[in-house]
């Protein structure tokens, strides 16, 4: 019986191809919208996630919120932290922004005051010269390591070791240039340079009015207070990150006495935030697409109702020769379902093609069809076929045979 209904439905669809196609259009558009949008978003999400993970899975940054001078951290505290379970390296960070002069040009520059460990934590490579050294810190040397794009922008070349770098009227000697980085610095119009932590502290104390809160609210509010307000911590290895985090947390809690006084952020937290944002985004787009599928479903109901009216006599004949209600119901329901599913299949194929085209055009990111979304699209089409097919099918099944036969 089911197979027969399927055959009949198939025949009915084929017998009016144009109308069937137009009916399917709503479903096709809905499915394409759903699958393409959600696939694009989730592909983008996972590629961003990969970026985040590749930048530093084993890195945390700590901001000190406390302004209490008695608990302020100094370099010996950082040494203690570096010796904690699971912790690899620790580097203090103080951000100072200002302008650099070269010839007549001036550039916005963000100087990161830090120590040698910083480069290891961030995983930055060298193009020329050397990193900052402990000696620079101890001697309060006015030396600077330039990021690759800063060197390129300011000097027009990167082999600038030994050049003088004028930052806020102070002369620094360039001792190193980092290897080119593909993502870092792209988000900011400022060029990043690295100076010894002790120098950065001195600069920021001298001109507390021009100190910028680049590294978070804590650095500007505590600019008058001495002590380390921000530092980076790496784990001994990437599988030690949780150990490192908990021992770090325990140490800080013990030191400050309150978890309100410090804030640890790690890349997985960033990734989580990112994921929840993109999930919301996917849900939103999916919702819009689902609405268009719903509209497609209403279109199907409309056409099915027309079809039932048109075929009233046929239904009468079928009933006269012994069709039960259930057979008629099944016939029309299956017809609606088949329309939906064919529409869904066409929609999926189109989505695949669109994704391929997007991949070719975008070049950089590779998008793929998201399998769960495809399944959802199929399910959704089925449900819509049933919901919007049942009413017309019931209407057909309930026709009185003699009334239906009389219908012109």
């Amino acid at each position: 019986m089911f197979l027969q209904s399927l055959k009949m439905a198939w025949k009915a669809i084929l017998s009016n191809k144009l109308r069937s196609l137009l009916t399917m259009l709503g479903i096709i558009i809905g499915v394409v919208a759903l699958v393409v949008l959600v696939s694009l978003v989730s592909s983008a999400t996972s590629s961003v996630q990969n970026d985040i993970n590749s930048i530093g899975r084993d890195m945390m940054s700590v901001n000190i919120e406390s302004t209490d001078a008695s608990t302020a951290l100094d370099s010996s505290d950082l040494d203690q932290i570096a010796a904690l379970d699971g912790v690899g390296a620790v580097a203090p960070v103080k951000n100072v922004s200002g302008s650099a002069k070269e010839g007549t040009e001036s550039y916005n520059v963000s100087a990161v005051g830090t120590t040698n460990a910083y480069f290891g934590i961030e995983g930055y490579g060298l193009a020329h010269g050397r990193y900052l050294l402990k000696a620079d810190q101890d001697n309060n040397s006015y030396v600077v390591v330039l990021s690759n794009n800063a060197a390129a922008a300011i000097y027009g070349r990167t082999d600038v070791v030994g050049e003088t770098f004028v930052f806020d009227e102070t002369h620094y000697t360039v001792v190193g240039v980092l290897a080119a980085q593909d993502t870092t610095g792209a988000m900011s119009s400022m060029y990043t340079v690295y100076i010894p932590y002790s120098i950065a502290e001195r600069v920021s104390n001298a001109s507390s009015s021009s100190g910028s809160g680049f590294g978070g609210s804590a650095s500007s509010s505590s600019s008058s207070a001495s002590g380390i307000t921000s530092f980076y911590v790496s784990a001994a290895s990437s599988d030690q990150i949780d150990v490192a985090k908990s021992s770090l947390d325990a140490w800080l809690l013990n030191h400050f006495g309150s978890s309100e006084d410090y804030y640890i952020s790690d890349s997985s937290a960033i990734a989580d935030t990112m994921a929840s944002v993109t999930n919301t985004f996917a849900l939103l787009l999916g919702g819009i697409a689902a609405i268009s599928l719903l509209v497609g479903g209403i279109g199907i109901m409309n056409i099915m109702l027309v079809s039932v009216t048109e075929r009233t006599r046929e239904i009468g004949i079928r009933k006269a020769i012994g069709a039960r209600r259930r057979s008629i119901l099944l016939q029309f329901l299956i017809e609606a379902l088949v329309v939906c599913l064919i529409g869904c299949a066409i929609g999926l194929v189109l989505s695949g093609l669109i994704i391929i085209v997007v991949d070719l055009v975008s070049g950089s990111l590779t998008y793929g069809l998201s399998l769960p979304v495809m399944l959802i699209a199929v399910l959704f089409s089925l449900v819509i076929g049933i919901i919007f097919g049942v009413y017309p099918a019931r209407k057909a099944a309930r026709l009185e045979p003699i009334e239906a036969l009389r219908y012109e």
Partner: protein, 274 residues
Amino acid sequence: MADPKVVIEFVDVYKIYQVGDSEVRALDGVSFQVRQGEFASIVGPSGSGKSTTMQIMGCLDLATYGTYYLDGKPVSNYGEDELADIRNRKIGFVFQNFNLIGKMTLEENVELPLIYAGVGREERAPRVRQALERVDLWGRHQHTPLEVSGGQQQRCAIARALVTEPELILGDEPTGNLDSHTSAEILALFAELNREGKTIVLITHDDHIAAQTHRRIRIMDGKVAADEELDADRHPEPSTRHPELDSGAHPEKIAGGARNDEGAKLRKSGKAVA
């Protein structure tokens, strides 16, 4: 010799249609019986209630009052599905306007009742073929109803009525849309089926056709006006002389309307559902 069992029994059957405020008494207390193996005709003027009687007999419609016993059981006791099964297996209905499904081939039209009867595919094919051969249509079975003549459409409809091997065959003016020659052919087919033991009831406007059946029930204004036994031994011989021929109708035309009584305007020209 005991009389054959009663297949159809109407006991004081009323059919009242409500049209706006007024009611139309299509059947106004009809009682009659049809026994197994009979070949009966129902005659009467247009609007007298013949089709209404036939629809109730064929379980396409139910009586407003009164009881219709089919095989001794009151039809009003049956549910929807049981009525569908009765229409499927027990009764073969032949309509004036053929009522074939236009999108399907003749073969598929004949196959349809078997599908609803739940007969398997292997069994269906030979039965469909047999039924179509029976009405001499095997060879045209791949055509759609729109591609064959009215007489062929009606023969296909008869094949469809026969294919489930029902005991009872009902025809509501089955020759009404056909020319006299084709009518005679169709009538001969019914007569042959009757000789094979099928109970047959036909509605007709044509006295000549009624005269070839074994019994004539005359209905007037929703009541049975006369119920006469005709010569039962007489074999229906297809006649070549019909009133239509004399009145100048086109014998080759398949459309109805060859007669000029007032019922003609009420009848739909024979056509299949597109």
